[in-house]
Symmetry: C2
Subunit: 188 residues, 2 copies
């Protein structure tokens, strides 16, 4: 049931935009009664966060290649690939911005989804510190934000193409900064 409701929510979101989304329409599309949905998720926002987190986890698995460079490259390339896919995050993100970027529950959902992503990817950084590849104390969330920011900047603001080169360049910048100790919380 959970997977069907998630899929229905994402399909409704991409097709109609956030503004037209409702627990009713999602339930109907998933072929379940809306009270079934409300038993599991307290409201549309909770369902949205759950579905997006799951969607991203499926799209962007956490790698363990043995080196920080390999891991970060895999993460950044998966992010780029996921945005290039027509059913992927680009569509979801566009739907969340269209007519809804300013809604507090959409902003909160976005924040929660990013926090969840940073939390999931944390082992990449802690393993790198363990192997002596990055300075002890390097802030995982700060590192991941540094890496994905230029990719989103291009996607959302300049509209430049994003590809594997964009991903690799983001990794290069992030590693240079991390190795120089610019991503330590104490450095703030």
């Amino acid at each position: 049931m959970r997977a069907a409701v998630h899929a229905a929510l994402l399909a409704e979101l991409v097709e109609k935009g956030y503004a037209a989304l409702s627990v009713e329409s999602v339930a109907q599309r998933a072929g379940v009664h809306k009270t079934t949905v409300y038993r599991r998720w307290k409201d549309l926002a909770a369902l949205l966060v759950d579905a997006l987190a799951e969607h991203i986890a499926a799209d962007i698995p956490i790698p363990d290649t043995g080196t920080v460079e390999g891991d970060l490259r895999a993460l950044a390339r998966a992010l780029v690939a996921s945005h290039a896919s027509p059913t992927g995050q680009a569509a979801v993100l566009a739907a969340m911005f269209t007519g809804a970027a300013h809604l507090p529950e959409v902003a909160a959902a976005r924040r929660l989804v990013f926090e969840e992503r940073f939390r999931r990817a944390e082992p990449v950084v802690t393993r790198a510190i363990g192997r002596g590849e990055l300075p002890a104390g390097t802030d995982p969330a700060e590192l991941l934000k540094t890496m994905i920011s230029p990719i989103y900047f291009r996607l959302l603001l300049t509209g430049e193409p994003v590809d594997e080169d964009t991903a690799d360049q983001a990794v290069r910048v992030t590693l240079a900064a991390a190795r120089a100790g610019a991503l330590l919380p104490a450095g703030r």
Copy 2:
């Protein structure tokens, strides 16, 4: 006349959003005839780009402090301050996203405005190279994108507060990457 039309466009944009914007409404607010506007700007998109570029140039002057760190810090802090101001870029940006993020002319306007900003700030990087502070060949646009990306990431995606610390941290990361040669076009 140009300043009055610019001011009218920004006021209409912030108050009503891009979707409700028209040459007619801007002309009326500025107290000029719409043919006067059309004589100077070929369409609403051209007027939008011109007004935004001017708005940003006034908000974010190009510094010349004598060091690359001082210059970048001044730029990044001015960007943060401009987004914190109620009549500043945050409002303009929100208005451009609300119901309009997906429109091709809005995307094109955004791209042109960013290109203009990178072009204006180029001397900061070329002077730094001249003083031997950054590797020869450091790409100015790439450097500026690296610096402002994490600020926009927070503003648009996670909704975290942005302040002088955010600005200074972005400068720290950018300088570490640039000094390590991660912002050379050849490095791509």
